[in-house]
Amino acid sequence: MISKVSPGIQDAVAGIEDGSTVMIGGFGRAGQPVELIDALIEQGATGLTVVNNNAGNGDTGIAALIGAGRVRKVVCSFPRQVDSHVFDAKYRAGEIELELVPQGNLAERIRAAGSGIGAFYTPTGVGTLVAEGKETRTIDGREYLLEYPLRADYALVSAFKADRWGNLIYRKTARNFGPLMAAAAATTIVQVDEVVELGALDPEAVVTPGIFVNRVVAVGERPWLHDGEFVGTEKVA
């Protein structure tokens, strides 16, 4: 019987080596796998390259990982936010490297890695600073940049529910980068609210098929749900 379910969260993050490239899902805090990141901090891996849309918010999640000094480099589209003080300080102190990638090119580079595309031509960024040093080509009268796949050793993803084969569904805009990163990493580790019986997920509605998932860990219901009903909160997490 296949079971990708890890007994505990430390089992889920076991083996992540120093110097790994780790994709971390989420757009801001939506879909950020905070419990897995906390486990990774405890696990101790350092010298990491982190791929995420942002460079951490507040003092938790990715910000905490950066604050703990475990991140050598961030690949993201939007590091500077009102609450990105942890990254900002490290960056200004020259203690962290930044590779800036426009958001859609970031998503497409991750997709290319997962789907075996060697490189692709994108119109986004043509004529801007991010095009510097990049190959360009005019196709059908429009100019494009050549972009390469972005792969990872590990992906940490937050989904809503999983089955023991690793099939995943997400919740609302927390889906964001999860399905892409799951396919682009050698080892994909997923936290979910709940692991359901095999067959309980509608095969038409599975967003990430289990083929892209290596480990699943249940972390309990998100605080804005109660027994599966949406009850809301006063603020964004």
Binding site: F27, G28, R29, A30, G31, N53, S77, F78, P79, R80, Q81, D88, Y91, R92, L98, L100, P102, Q103, G104, N105, L106, A107, E108, I110, R111, T122, P123, T124, G125, V126, G127, T128, L129, V130, Y170, R171, K172, T173, A174, R175, N176, F177, G178, P179, L180, V207, R222, W224, F230, G232, T233, E234, K235, V236, A237
Partner: protein, 214 residues
């Protein structure tokens, strides 16, 4: 010289968006436009973090942290909504499926180059997000901005001095003083607000401006 305030400008832009349009409203002032879209028209809002059919902000206490817009503000879901991942969402933009995208600007050139992501300040931490994708990501890219900065400099210019977000991507510029269409012959003024005159606009911008006012 008088113009209109930001709310009136948002209302003005809202009037130009037809029923059935798929629209992305950029972070900042453009989000105000949503408040002026007529209730009896169906206009479908896209948020690039992965949703079509975005609704207004939730009631107090009903915030869903899994349901946010590109500005990371809480929103709601309308009947007919759909969720998708980032590659599909940005493919939707890059593939030219959105009808209208409205963005803020630091500068817009008379050819439609847009600068809205970076002031070029040497100590700034660069952050682009979806700006460059949005700039090329709709059939019509509209800019919503004051014509003049607080220190009196025109934001519509012959050439952008700030780093650009996209090249020849803007089709129309809505400002507090006038509306400009970007045409192959140069900028054309289609509306003036308050007692603003075309000559004043020419003086402010230093540009040749075509008169296409009604």
């Amino acid at each position: 010289m008088t113009g209109i305030d930001r709310e009136a400008l948002a209302a003005r832009i809202a009037r130009d968006i037809p029923e059935g349009a798929y629209v992305n409203l950029g972070i900042g002032a453009p989000t105000l436009i949503a408040n002026y879209l007529p209730d009896d028209l169906e206009i479908i809002l896209h948020t690039e973090n992965g949703m079509l059919g975005m609704g207004p902000k939730p009631e107090a206490g009903r915030i869903d942290p899994d349901l946010i817009n590109a500005g990371k503000q809480p929103v709601t879901e309308l009947p007919g909504a759909a969720y998708f991942h980032h590659a599909d969402s940005f493919g939707m933009m890059r593939g030219g499926h959105l009808d209208v995208c409205v963005l803020g600007a630091f500068q817009v050139s008379e050819r439609g180059d847009l600068a809205n992501w970076h002031t070029g300040a040497p100590d700034a931490i660069p952050a682009v997000g979806g700006a460059m994708d949005l700039a090329i990501g709709a059939k019509d890219v509209y800019v919503m901005t004051d014509l003049v900065t607080r220190d009196g400099t025109a934001k519509i210019v012959a050439e952008c001095t700030y780093p650009v977000t996209g090249v020849r991507c803007v089709s129309r510029i809505y400002t507090d003083l006038a509306v400009f269409d970007v045409t192959p012959d140069g900028l054309a003024v289609t509306d003036v607000f308050g007692d603003t005159t075309l000559d004043e606009l020419r003086t402010i911008t230093g540009l040749t401006l075509l008169d296409r006012t009604p």
